[in-house]
């Protein structure tokens, strides 16, 4: 296997994992990025092959976060199951 081919394969693997990490820790930003990229390909006037790529790139309607990333699965994916916004918990320190 040539060095260039190896470099190409490694670049693809690293790219995929970099995107995976980005999606995990910045799901909303990743969603916006993917949506805007998809829009560029799908804009009116683009050829059919470009629109097909755009459709393939189009993200799901909701951000299906990996929860908090703990992998514990005990909370049913905390990123998509927010608790009601309440007053912040705070401690009153002694003056």
């Amino acid at each position: 296997m040539s060095a260039s081919l190896q470099l190409l394969i490694v670049a693809v693997i690293v790219g995929v994992f970099a995107w995976r990490a980005f999606k995990r820790y910045a799901p909303k930003t990743a969603w916006r990025l993917q949506a805007s990229l998809s829009y560029q390909f799908e804009r009116a006037g683009r050829p059919s092959w470009s629109r097909a790529i755009g459709r393939w790139l189009r993200p799901l309607e909701t951000v299906s976060g990996d929860g908090c990333g703990s992998g514990c699965s005990s909370c049913g994916g905390c990123a998509t199951n927010p608790v009601a916004k309440t007053d912040p918990l705070s401690i009153q320190l002694r003056s």
Binding site: F17, D66, C72, S74, S90
Partner: protein
């Protein structure tokens, strides 16, 4: 056809989640203590008639006068006031048949809503064993609602309930809610008319509790149980660990032999195999630890431990209610922090959240056992005890002591005081169900392997890239890794961490280790595999660091991991649960400061002594 919405409600620890699992075939966590469920869970069942039901499993509540966030969810859903939650078609009120004196009170409260409802008398097998006879017909007439028997932990134990749900929706006449009415008196009357109970508590429970709840012998028993667990973690896991290590060594060697030299081989052998193999080897120890935790959870012993520790916890500003969240944090701080929703007082809840990251979560185990295995000799004390197990036990004790110490400091810094005494239900002892324990272990193994295949693999690949690019210049005088992105970051960070004895390799591992603690182990394995190259790359990580690090550095890193908030997910959950970035800053700030201080003292003192 739209699915009918049914909710399971009832007092904590009456078996709602077990019933939910039985009905829907799901595998939500169950345990023999109150407060396991703090969120609503949803599942679906299709009845024999083809009707579809959406089943909600709600957190346990003692009454509708909600005192904690999880009880509020139950109250609001039952009353139809929960935002975004459609009204319920039917309520299934679950009651522990062995403890109707307590559980019927809530049934009467739900009954007052006047909504269609069914009473499921759960744990009927245990009730019969104790000689408790319930006149179901009479109870149903007196309550004016259908009553069915269930045994949630037995296959087919919910069939009567499914048949009832599948029939006509029962009409429940509205009951005038008289605030002056004494529900307890009504319960007593109901019990007198419909239940024959030979004695209030099981004789065996009382016999065991005479020892388990004794102020001296009870604490001694708790210490012995914990000590034995950590002994077993080291003693039992070794043969399986050796097998896994051998497997990964063979895989690395064989793959290295057939693949041509180059980047791809480096990524697979030095990156993925060395990195993941370095972490997977700790799976047996994690499973042994969880085997004991699951058995204790199922047996009903853990609430007793909470009761025993209540006085100590109260003296440092925590309450006994903090025990279960802190205990959950031993698996992972995230469910532990979420479990604080069962704590009624917001100030106590915040204190518990802030100290939860100090409990020794299972992600620390690979780091601890790597360092203990490399630096603490495998020898026995008095021919019985394993020295490595004793050191691991000491680290867990250090975690507990630090929780108590930080809570004590917070107690003295706080102006607001809470005075909530512990009111906790002690469940009956139960022989752990082997199937449930086995399912729990498989779940834990899958969680660990998902982490390995998910976040750990992802960061290992990215770290390998950062360790290999850019390559060394033509006129390089140092090893190639020193010129890489990661190498430069490691050397830059070393300036900060040199006083606590960390070398640049450790500094590199700390960065991806922020995503998950175990990643530090896979990162170290990758860093040393790339640094060494060739055959040395397949050596065990423990052997390599044992030869290259000083004892002071190893102990300093152990001290770091006792305190450092090396987990971004935990900080994210603190933000979510407290709705405040300030609390995140406080947690991260004090934990990093403690970690640095503890490592500094450990390193300097050990260096001076050795």
């Amino acid at each position: 056809m739209t699915a009918m919405r049914v909710a399971l409600v009832g007092n904590p620890n009456c078996g709602k989640t077990a019933l939910f699992n039985q009905l829907t075939g799901s595998r939500q966590k169950v345990a023999n203590y109150a407060g396991v469920t703090v969120e609503r869970k949803e599942g679906r069942i299709t009845a024999p008639s083809g009707r579809v039901f959406t089943v909600l499993d709600l957190p346990g509540a003692y009454s509708f006068d909600a005192a904690s966030p999880d009880e509020m969810i139950t109250r609001d859903v039952c009353q139809g006031n929960h935002p975004g939650e459609p009204a319920l078609d039917q309520i299934v009120c679950v009651a522990d048949a062995t403890n109707l004196r307590l559980h019927l009170r809530f049934v009467l409260e739900v009954r007052r809503l006047g909504r269609p409802m069914v009473l499921a008398l759960n744990m009927m097998d245990a009730a019969r064993k104790r000689g408790i006879a319930i006149d179901i017909e009479q109870l149903s007439q007196r309550l004016g609602i259908p009553v069915v028997e269930t045994i949630a932990v037995q296959r087919g134990g919910a069939e009567a309930l499914v048949r009832q749900l599948d029939g006509a929706i029962p009409h429940v006449a509205a009951v005038e809610a008289d605030p002056a009415a004494d529900l307890h008196a009504q319960v007593r009357q109901l019990l007198a008319d419909t239940v024959v109970m030979p004695q209030r508590t099981a004789a065996i429970d009382e016999a065991i509790d005479r020892w388990a709840l004794h102020p001296v012998w009870g604490l001694a028993m708790l210490a012995v149980v914990m000590f034995l667990i950590f002994q077993a973690v080291f003693s039992w896991a070794a043969p399986v660990q050796d097998g896994i290590t051998w497997l990964f060594e063979m895989l690395g060697q064989n793959l290295g032999a057939v693949m041509p030299d180059g980047l791809l081989k480096g990524l697979l052998v030095d990156g993925i195999i060395a990195g993941l193999g370095g972490v997977i080897v700790f799976l047996p120890q994690i499973l042994i630890l969880f085997l004991f935790i699951l058995v204790l959870e199922e047996s009903g012993y853990l609430p007793r431990a909470a009761f025993l520790l209540d006085r100590t916890m109260f003296s440092v500003g925590l309450t006994g209610r903090s025990f279960i969240p802190l205990l959950s944090s031993y698996a992972c701080a995230i469910p532990g922090i979420m479990a604080t929703r069962s704590i009624q007082d917001p100030r106590d809840r915040l204190t518990t959240i802030l100290v939860a990251p100090l409990t020794t979560c299972s992600a620390r185990l690979p780091v601890y056992t790597l360092l203990i295995g490399a630096f603490i000799p495998r020898q026995s004390i008095a021919g019985v005890f394993n020295l490595q197990g004793m050191v691991l036990f000491a680290l867990y004790v250090l975690g507990i002591v630090s929780v108590l110490a930080v809570a004590w400091v917070m107690k003295h810094l706080r102006r607001d005081k809470s005075e909530h005494a512990l009111l906790m239900e002690l469940p009956s002892y139960r022989v752990p169900n082997a199937r449930d324990v086995a399912i729990g272990l498989v779940e834990r193994a899958m969680i660990f392997l998902r982490r390995v295949g998910g976040i750990i693999l992802t960061l290992t690949v990215l770290l390998w890239f950062l360790l290999n690019f850019p390559g060394a210049p033509v006129d390089a005088t140092m090893p190639a890794i020193d010129y890489s992105f990661a190498g430069r970051i490691g050397h830059a960070l070393q300036t900060i961490f040199a006083p606590i004895g960390f070398n640049w390799q450790i500094c590199i591992a700390l960065v991806p280790g922020l995503a998950a603690r175990e990643v530090a182990v896979s990162s170290l394995a990758t860093v040393y595999a790339i640094s060494a190259g060739g055959d040395v790359a397949t050596q065990q990580l423990g052997t390599i660091i044992g030869g290259q690090w000083s004892l002071a550095t190893a102990l300093s890193l152990l001290a770091w991991y006792v305190f450092a908030p090396q987990c971004l997910s935990t900080l994210a959950v603190i933000r979510r649960e407290t709705n405040s970035w300030r609390n995140v800053a406080i947690a991260a700030g004090y934990l990093f400061a403690l970690a640095y201080l503890a490592s500094f003292l450990t390193y300097q003192i050990t260096s001076w002594l050795t």
